[in-house]
Amino acid sequence: MAIDSMVMIMFVLLALLLVAVLATVVVRNLLGSAILLAVTSTVVALILFVLEMKLAAVMELAVCAGLVTAIYASAISLSKPEQDEKRNVKAENRAWILRHLALPLILIALAVLVVFLVPQVPIDFGTAADAAGGAAGAASPTVQTVLWDLRMVDILSLALLILAGVLGVAALIGKREEK
C-alpha cells in the first residue's frame, strides 16, 4: 500500500520534471528559460528527497535552483542583446515554434523505444530498503562517513575545483573592469 503511493508520487514528480524540461527548451524568452531550469532543479531535488537522498536534495535546491539561477540571471542581464523595436514578434514566435516542432516527435519516438528496450529492474522502495538494512545486520554508511572517511580525495578535489573556478572567474572578469 505504502509502496503504491510511493509509485504514484514518483510518477507525478517525473511527469512534472518532463513538463519542466520541455518548457525550459521550448520557451523563447531566455530569462524565462533560466527560471524554468530552476523549476526543473526543484523537481529533481524533490525526486532526490523522495529517494531519501536528503543532503543531495538540499544541495540541489540551494546550489542548482538558487546559485546557478543567479549566475544565469546576471549573465543574461550583462549580455542583453540590443532590442530592435521594429521586430515582428508574432512572426518570430511562430518561426520559433515551427523550428521546435520536431522535438516532441523525437521525444515520443524515443519514449516508445525505451519502454520496449529497457528490461524490468525492480527498485526496492522506502521500507524495503530499511528492511534489507535490518536483515543484513550492518548499518549502511551515511553520506557523512562516505564523504569524510571513504572519499576524502573528493573533498580535496572539490575544494581545488572551487579554487579553480574562483581564480578562473577572476582572471577573465578582471581585465574588463580596468577598461
Binding site: 517525473l14 546550489v63 546557478v68 519514449a111 524490468q120 527498485i123 549502511s140 553520506v143 564523504l147 573556478g165
Partner: protein, 105 residues
Amino acid sequence: MLFTMFVVTIVLTAAAGIYSLIASQNLIRVLIAMELVNKGAALLIAIAGRISGQMAQAESFIIALIIVEVVVTAIGAVLAITIHAKTGSIEIGTLSLGKEADHVK
C-alpha cells in the same frame, strides 16, 4: 515499472537537452541545455545507487556532481559574457568567424 519510468524520463531529459544544445544559437541557451543534460545524469546516478544498494555513495557522487556543475556553469557564463563584451553578440555564429577566415585563404 518504476525503473522504466525513470529511464524514460532520464532519456527524454537528456534528449531534450542535446536537441537544445544542437539547435540553439544563443550561448546561454547552450549552457542551459548542458545543465539539463547533467540533470539526467544526476538522476541516473541516484537510481543506480538505489538499484545497487549503495545509497550513501550515490549521494556523495551527486553532491560532487552538483558542485562541479555550478563551477563549470560559472566559467561558461563568464566565457559567454566575455564573448559578448568582445563581439557585441551572443550568437554561436560569431565564434566560427576565425575558422572561416582561415578556410577562405
